[in-house]
């Protein structure tokens, strides 16, 4: 295990020089984030794992061109950069698998999990279906904001769009969800 004192900038610099152990530490730090983004976009745990693996492979190859210190418009945080790769990889993967993975085939968590009640399983099904029906770019903006807590600036970097577009996509996604889940939201008031 690498010392916790290693800063992110140090790990990035060493990874850029080909240090696999430093990159391994970055993978461990960002694994949950990447899997979470991928899973919430594709709703399939196995596919989310594959997307995460593909994301980190692409990151390893592209890291030498990643800049954190530059002050130009291409400068970005590692978190936003990894989200960007994960979102693009997930969208590519979903487009490739679209004929075989339909919304009705969305994988639900194991119903026997002790921590999840039947009500929660139903909630999950309804919410996931509603999110899955959103356009993919609005869905990505919503997931990055609601589940991963990225700032507008980071979402703009991750999706390569202006902040104004981030706000309008979030507005659209939430409006659609409020309409689709209207009865559900009222029932849970």
């Amino acid at each position: 295990m690498m010392a916790r004192t290693a800063t992110e900038a140090e790990l990035i610099r060493r990874s850029q020089q080909g240090d696999e152990q430093a990159f391994g530490e970055l993978v461990r730090r960002y694994y949950r984030l990447v899997v979470s983004v991928a899973y919430r976009l594709c709703n399939d745990p196995q596919l989310a794992e594959d997307i995460a693996q593909e994301t980190f492979l692409k990151a390893w190859q592209a890291l030498p061109r990643f800049h954190t210190q530059r002050k130009d418009k291409d400068s970005t945080s590692l978190r936003a950069w990894l989200c960007r790769i994960a979102v693009n990889t997930a969208i590519d993967e979903m487009r490739r698998q679209r004929p075989t993975v339909g919304l009705e085939e969305v994988t639900l968590p194991d119903a026997t999990q002790a921590t999840e009640s039947i009500d929660q399983t139903l909630d999950a099904e309804v919410v996931r279906s509603a999110i899955a029906r959103l356009p993919e770019r609005s869905r990505a903006a919503l997931i990055l904001r609601e589940y991963e807590g990225l700032s507008y600036q980071e979402i703009a970097e991750a999706l390569d769009i202006p902040i104004g577009t981030v706000m309008s996509r979030l507005n659209y996604a939430r409006k659609r969800l409020r309409e689709e889940l209207e009865n559900y939201l009222k029932a849970h008031e």
Binding site: G18, Y39, Q53, Q113, Y147
Partner: protein, 221 residues
């Protein structure tokens, strides 16, 4: 939705996401106090957030732990030779500047030696005076120390050369030219070898190698 509410809609979203500037926050608070529609919208946004978090967890138990995933990933990582950290921008001109500098020094030294040897050969300068004319120099400033040391070194080399080369008087001119050219060649050789060595070191440490990473598509769609 009225135009007024549409106007507040994006501000409400930014407020909900904690992204509204402090100054606008006060204005929104004032608006919320008198607008039941926006109050309801904000409540719906809050309820929606709670529902999203409550109902869409990641099934971590069905997903590989990070260590296992890294173990698998590590075997697939394409080999990338370890390289040195990129040089600071102000150091990137060093190879070309070093080349220019070593060339200038070599050529200046060569010209100096040729001129001296030619002048000596033509009898315009007395080589013996040239070899050791600096004993009387008075060192009064620090920069003269360096000047004196350089000149002593030069005169020492020339003196050594004159003592080693013993040629008939009719060949003195040719010998002088050959001797200065040999010195010039030696100096050029040392500088050239030093320059090539520094280039090799830079290349070996990766500063001069071309990055040949596969291009991946992360661009806008």
């Amino acid at each position: 939705m009225t135009d007024d509410h549409q106007q507040w809609s994006l501000r409400l979203i930014a407020y909900h996401d904690d992204e509204l500037p402090h100054a606008e926050r006060e204005r929104l608070h004032a608006h919320l106090a008198s607008c039941p529609y926006c109050q309801r919208t904000l409540q719906e946004l809050t309820r929606l957030r709670e529902l999203l978090h409550h109902a869409h967890p990641v099934p971590w138990s069905a997903i590989k732990p990070p260590a296992e995933m890294w173990h698998q990933l590590q075997r697939q990582l394409p080999h990338r030779p370890r390289t040195a950290a990129p040089l600071p921008s102000w150091l990137r001109w060093v190879p070309s500047a070093g080349f220019l500098f070593s060339n200038l020094i070599t050529q200046a030294a060569g010209v100096l030696l040729l001129v001296v040897s030619l002048l000596t050969a033509l009898g315009l300068v007395d080589a013996r005076k040239l070899v050791s004319p600096f004993d009387e120099i008075r060192i009064v400033r620090a920069n003269q120390v360096l000047e004196w040391m350089t000149l002593r070194a030069l005169s020492g080399v020339l003196g050594w050369g004159a003592s080693v080369i013993s040629v008939p008087p009719e060949w003195e001119a040719v010998a002088g030219v050959l001797f200065s050219m040999a010195l010039f060649g030696l100096l050029a050789g040392v500088l050239g070898v030093g320059y090539i060595l520094s280039l090799w070191l830079l290349w070996h440490r990766g500063h001069l190698s071309r990055h040949d990473q596969a291009e991946a598509d992360y661009g806008p769609r």
